[in-house]
């Protein structure tokens, strides 16, 4: 086996192992490289090392927020002067900083936090997400067109949610469904990121609970409050991309 280490076939196989770990392979190539990893211990070891590295980088490397003053500095530099919006952006920057700080201890929270009033809501939210993944389709109305998804809710629940198209930012809309949280029907939007599904639930504030980023059974959860609604985003997507999704959704014009 050591004879063919430098041949191009082996080099290509190594690249495919990395692409496999990254979820970048089509099914045919994925199956082919799975078979090779099963029979070639060196490739299996490569996979284990790469997965360990990715996990360590994702979980252990603190993600540093931009300095709070940078956003205003940039605005001044390009000649935008909008004092009115400053507090909003500052608050958003501060909340992002807090979320990032909290995310590094998210796993710790999930395992040690005491049950609070919000525990029930977050449990219900993650249960609804898991149920949707087990169903044949994660959405009851499957459409990437927000003008199809939003009216679908109108006949089913009192208040249709904000539906925002984030396809240009790499989070295409998959559709929507109605979940039940604490016996109240709530609208859920479904987005995707590569092969990951994101559920975004809009829960009335009366049911609001904890808004700490959490990791539960390998699923990341983020929530925030806007206009009387608490939004919950749940996915097996990594936390930093889920936070980006939340930032984009919040920043988008209604």
């Amino acid at each position: 086996m050591s004879m063919d280490v430098h041949d191009s076939n082996r080099d290509r196989a190594v690249l495919l192992v990395h692409a496999y770990v990254d979820g970048e392979l089509d099914p045919a190539n994925a199956i082919a490289i799975e078979q090779r990893m099963a029979s070639e211990p060196a490739l299996a070891a490569e996979r284990a090392s790469v997965e360990a590295l990715r996990h360590a980088l994702r979980e252990r490397l603190p993600r540093e927020a931009e300095p709070p003053a940078l956003r205003e500095r940039v605005r001044r530099a390009v000649g935008i002067t909008r004092q009115r919006t400053q507090p909003t952006w500052m608050a958003l920057a501060a909340s992002v900083a807090i979320a990032i700080f909290a995310s590094s201890t998210g796993t710790w929270y999930a395992t040690t936090r005491t049950p609070s009033a919000g525990g029930n809501v977050s449990d219900a939210v993650i249960a609804a997400h898991l149920r949707s993944l087990m169903a044949p389709q994660p959405a009851d109305v499957a459409s990437s067109d927000r003008h199809t998804v939003k009216p679908w809710f109108s006949g089913r629940i009192p208040l249709a949610p904000r539906v925002i198209d984030l396809a240009q930012d790499g989070f295409p809309l998959v559709g929507g469904r109605v979940d039940v949280v604490n016996r109240t029907p709530v609208p859920s939007l479904v987005y995707s990121r590569r092969q990951h599904i994101i559920s975004l639930m809009a829960v009335p504030n009366a049911l609001a609970g904890s808004t700490t980023p959490q990791t539960v059974q390998g699923y990341n959860m983020i929530s925030w409050t806007a206009e009387g609604t608490t939004y919950w985003a749940v996915s097996d997507l990594n936390l930093e991309e889920l936070q980006m999704f939340a930032r984009l959704f919040r920043a988008a014009p209604a």
Binding site: L15, A42, V50, L53, L61
Partner: protein
């Protein structure tokens, strides 16, 4: 396009990605204050170009501008760093599979994976900082910022195949560096 339109487009298209812009600039320059200067410069470029931005992936568009601004900045302020980049091109296409030889035949217990699992943040950061710039960019964009291969190819302006080989080499260097600590 009026100034107001540009301002509104800038707020909508660029501002949501400011955190990613800053993070990439900090990894490339290795310095917080320098990263802020780079982001400001990049935002000026983006603002001037925003009338011609035709849609598509906004984050990739902005990170491309940030990366170019960062390398322009480095060339102006730290020319020694950038000259080292050119030497890399010759070696990066070389055998990406080399590190596999160290893995041995036993994958039931993988000592490298165990060592990586124990590495702390400071060790990981030091190992990333020590990577050659173009390997580091690719690794940061994929494993820290979560871009997919096509997006990284767009940002770093190389074919997807080059992204794949750079990413594999960058990871293998990190794995080797972290494993070597314990020997």
């Amino acid at each position: 396009m009026s100034g107001d339109d540009s301002a509104a487009r800038f707020e909508r298209i660029v501002q949501p990605h400011l955190g990613d812009a800053y993070a990439l600039a900090r990894w490339i320059t290795g310095d917080r204050a320098d990263a802020e200067d780079v982001v400001q410069d990049a935002c000026l470029r983006a603002f001037r170009a925003i009338g011609g931005y035709a849609g598509g992936n906004a984050r990739a568009w902005i990170l491309t501008i940030v990366r170019n601004a960062a390398y322009t900045w480095l060339a102006r302020n730290r020319s020694a760093v950038v000259t080292a980049v050119d030497d890399l091109v010759a070696t990066e296409s070389a055998n990406a599979g080399q590190a596999v030889t160290t893995a041995g035949g036993d994958y039931g217990a993988n000592p490298e994976a165990e060592l990586i699992a124990k590495a702390d943040a400071a060790r990981l950061e030091a190992a990333i900082t020590a990577l050659p710039p173009q390997f580091r960019d690719t690794l940061v964009l994929r494993d820290i910022q979560g871009l997919d291969y096509r997006e990284i190819a767009a940002v770093t302006e190389v074919p997807v195949g080059t992204v794949m080989s750079r990413l594999a080499r960058a990871r293998q260097r990190l794995i080797e560096a972290i494993s070597a600590d314990d020997r």
